[in-house]
Symmetry: C2
Subunit: 178 residues, 2 copies
């Protein structure tokens, strides 16, 4: 899954709008979160089940010359956040998405540029997430993020719970339509 971000892999994306929405989302993240810009965060891949972000090592290095734990957890959290935000944007849902809690495991040092791959764990589903959102205006979903390491072993993992809250329609606009 590790590849140069200039070659973004959109294989297996079934909706034609999704690559554009994903590129817009990463531009939005970099323009509104200074630390994402400092980390040089980039879109690296996307399919119908996962979203992959890329970060080069030099701006994300630590005192030992490997990837800084704060960068690893930030890129993993942002890949999970972007997966949820993108699913909402594809559906035309206007929500605020917050990370609620997460569990992080740093399994081996990362000495190179790195990626984080975000996908839903096997026991989570978009359909129940969207059902809750439609009925209550708020929903939670768990996302699993992995920084691949050597071979099949992950270098770091994160399980995070995200909360989406539908934004209230602007009152003036709503009034003007009646």
């Amino acid at each position: 899954m590790r590849f140069a971000p200039s070659v973004v892999d959109f294989t297996d994306v079934t909706s034609p709008d999704t690559p554009l929405l994903a590129r817009q989302l990463i531009r939005f993240i970099r323009s509104t979160i200074p630390l994402a810009e400092a980390m040089d965060l980039q879109l690296a891949g996307l399919d119908d089940d996962s979203l992959t972000l890329f970060a080069p090592l030099p701006p994300n290095v630590n005192d030992k010359g490997c990837a800084f734990g704060g960068s690893l957890v930030s890129v993993m959290t942002l890949s999970g956040w972007a997966l949820v935000e993108l699913a909402l944007r594809q559906r035309g849902d206007d929500c605020d998405v917050f990370v609620g809690e997460s569990t992080v495991r740093y399994l081996s040092p990362v000495w190179t540029d790195f990626t984080s791959v975000a996908r839903l764990p096997v026991d989570a589903s978009w359909s129940s997430f969207f059902r809750s959102l439609d009925s209550r205006g708020k929903a939670r979903i768990e996302v699993s993020c992995v920084v691949p390491g050597d071979g099949d072993k992950p270098a770091a993992t994160l399980i995070a719970r995200f909360v989406a809250k539908r934004r209230a329609a602007p009152v003036a606009v709503a009034a003007a339509t009646h």
Copy 2:
């Protein structure tokens, strides 16, 4: 605990060398971890039980105008890492300190500059940590980090396990002393 970092609080620090070591440590972090410099991380307080880091909001803001989750977890992790690293430096121990795993809770949005206060949880002790380090050259310790919120409620918490490994003495130097 939230105060301007220009007024670093060294109340209750019993060892006269500790404030100097702490300032050196923060300079070391900023000079070797580009993201710590980007976050404008600063030392904000120190006593015999805790170490407090400060980060201003502007470089750490997110798309909603509050503190970016990645900045909160990075500052909390670095406060915990600095607490362990400082304890080792005070003792003259030359170790690599890694974060192994952590659990993060984002409890309420942070709309201002923020601090993270790191201390040992009640069931952890420096004495057993140093005993393990002396006997095995390696030891683990849990650290509890809190970003204070409004009133007594924390805005975010992190429990992290750190691993310290004693660095091997350089062979050439060791040989030269015999």
